[in-house]
Symmetry: C3
Subunit: 244 residues, 3 copies
Amino acid sequence: MAMIALFTDFGLQGPYTGQMKAVLHQMAPGTPIVDLFADAPIGNAKASAYLLAAYSLWFPPRTIFLSVVDPGVGGTRPALIVKADSRWYVGPGNGLFELVRRRCDDALNWDIEWKPERLSASFHGRDLFAPVAAMLARGDPPPGRPRSDATDHRPDWPDDLAEIIYIDHFGNAMTGLRAATLTPDTRLAVGDRVFERARTFGDLPPGTGFWYENSTGLAEIAVNQGRANFDLGLTIGTRIQVIP
Amino acid sequence: MAMIALFTDFGLQGPYTGQMKAVLHQMAPGTPIVDLFADAPIGNAKASAYLLAAYSLWFPPRTIFLSVVDPGVGGTRPALIVKADSRWYVGPGNGLFELVRRRCDDALNWDIEWKPERLSASFHGRDLFAPVAAMLARGDPPPGRPRSDATDHRPDWPDDLAEIIYIDHFGNAMTGLRAATLTPDTRLAVGDRVFERARTFGDLPPGTGFWYENSTGLAEIAVNQGRANFDLGLTIGTRIQVIP
Amino acid sequence: MAMIALFTDFGLQGPYTGQMKAVLHQMAPGTPIVDLFADAPIGNAKASAYLLAAYSLWFPPRTIFLSVVDPGVGGTRPALIVKADSRWYVGPGNGLFELVRRRCDDALNWDIEWKPERLSASFHGRDLFAPVAAMLARGDPPPGRPRSDATDHRPDWPDDLAEIIYIDHFGNAMTGLRAATLTPDTRLAVGDRVFERARTFGDLPPGTGFWYENSTGLAEIAVNQGRANFDLGLTIGTRIQVIP
């Protein structure tokens, strides 16, 4: 069965996620909907692209990612459907799907051609992307035409991003680096602070900073019984140095 | 199919929304439930009334709004069911449905007569309003008697409220003014700051404050690439001046 | 029908709850899932144990509590299934189920023996506990062996905890004391501030602190039209004095 996963920077509060879900319930009744991220880096398609690529691969085939980090809504950025191997992605063509596409074997791309009766200037997530995600969940063919330009590509973005891309509820700081690309001896540094790799929190004394492979494969900086963001001054965009 | 939308000031955290949903799942299995607002202005039935009226009209017919902004819970305020055109509203009679009722063609009102086995003093949302919403979702007739007094009416409240009624995750400040009641030339002012109308964010230089019709029809004050609440000192209750 | 209730300290944001729900939707399609607490006291199994015991009793028989407050994840703490009267609990054996077990008539305990294909070091909620909860929701027998040791017991924890265990969205402070164990004349004190019992908020003048039986049976300290946490300096762990 198809499942729809929401990946947005709408925040947890407010009506935006609820309105999108109302569209999905009406147009694709019975389809499970999962909130993956409602707090992707606000308006930051680049950091979000690395987060989405890492987390979406954990999901089963046929999952549809309704992905809305869309600071250019109402402007000229394209509106896309991407099929990357067996998973679907719907959202703005602002680089958000760059890493998903680069890391899959086979990607297909469509420009959305379907138009809603009423398209607000500021909420394409509800008016355009959610209906398209619902169509895909129902098994409809992608309502668009194969894409013929590459304005949504970002070939200059690296394969892994040596920056903090997300801070979680525990204060742990995810990087845009896949742990599998790093060795057991790799150290990560922020300014003059250097972090060794550990397996998990219990391996180190309280208060010690370290990095580890998080449960979805990203290199993540944490402090045992502490909060890496506060204790180490990390925030989204902080640059990381990789010491092989 | 009926859908239940939750509109509360319970906040996102804590057990309250979850307990209400447990009641709904038990009493109306399979009914889609959507979180519309969990962060309506706390204890502020007036601001909430304008927010609910604007957002509920976006939803399809037969939607049931389980609406709990209820600072007087445990006191003497009535407990109501309102049918406004094709939509249902369940909640406290403290003015919360004043604008919904005023803006519809045909409103019917009931005092809830059904009583739960156990009614807590502080959580009628779970014990009284959620069961009644579930009954309506199942297609039961309203479990009450037609209402014969007007203690829940607020005839002194204006048709549109020239105040900030909600701040969203992006820092945008919604007013209680319907954009359709304003002209393209209308300016909104807060103190000595005056804002022109724009179509959307991209139309203005970064850092510029403006107002626009948001995706659900309210006049909303925003700052391109900024946060209107911080940059302009806006909060719930801030008065707005309308300059026609 | 079975229902799964989530009780975690994962926070509202981030991917953790969503990933657990994706597992549940895949393995137990159609089972209602309710977010009970996503903000249980972080890493605090003791305070969480009193919160879980109070709130889970409100739920119907057959509910499955997927309970993850698990600071020792990746270490040696056991992984448990507990059946307490008619309800199921799945989670770490770190004391989290101590009060649930102590307050029921009949408890059965299993060590989880099922192993996932891939078990991350830091997220057993997703990889181990969610699949087991899904199996129970489907009606499978508990995938474990009856438990033969008591390392997860905490006989030194009191039957009721005279501490603040949760602060809600309104600033109200829940204690770990069941109101039913206290008399109408019982007063609660924090330092030199003493609080009388009231029925509900409206019974007292604005600004007055008091305690009352909350909607789920816990003694809770509140301030009419105020915020008990700020106004009275209460936080999780603040000790309460019971004056009979």
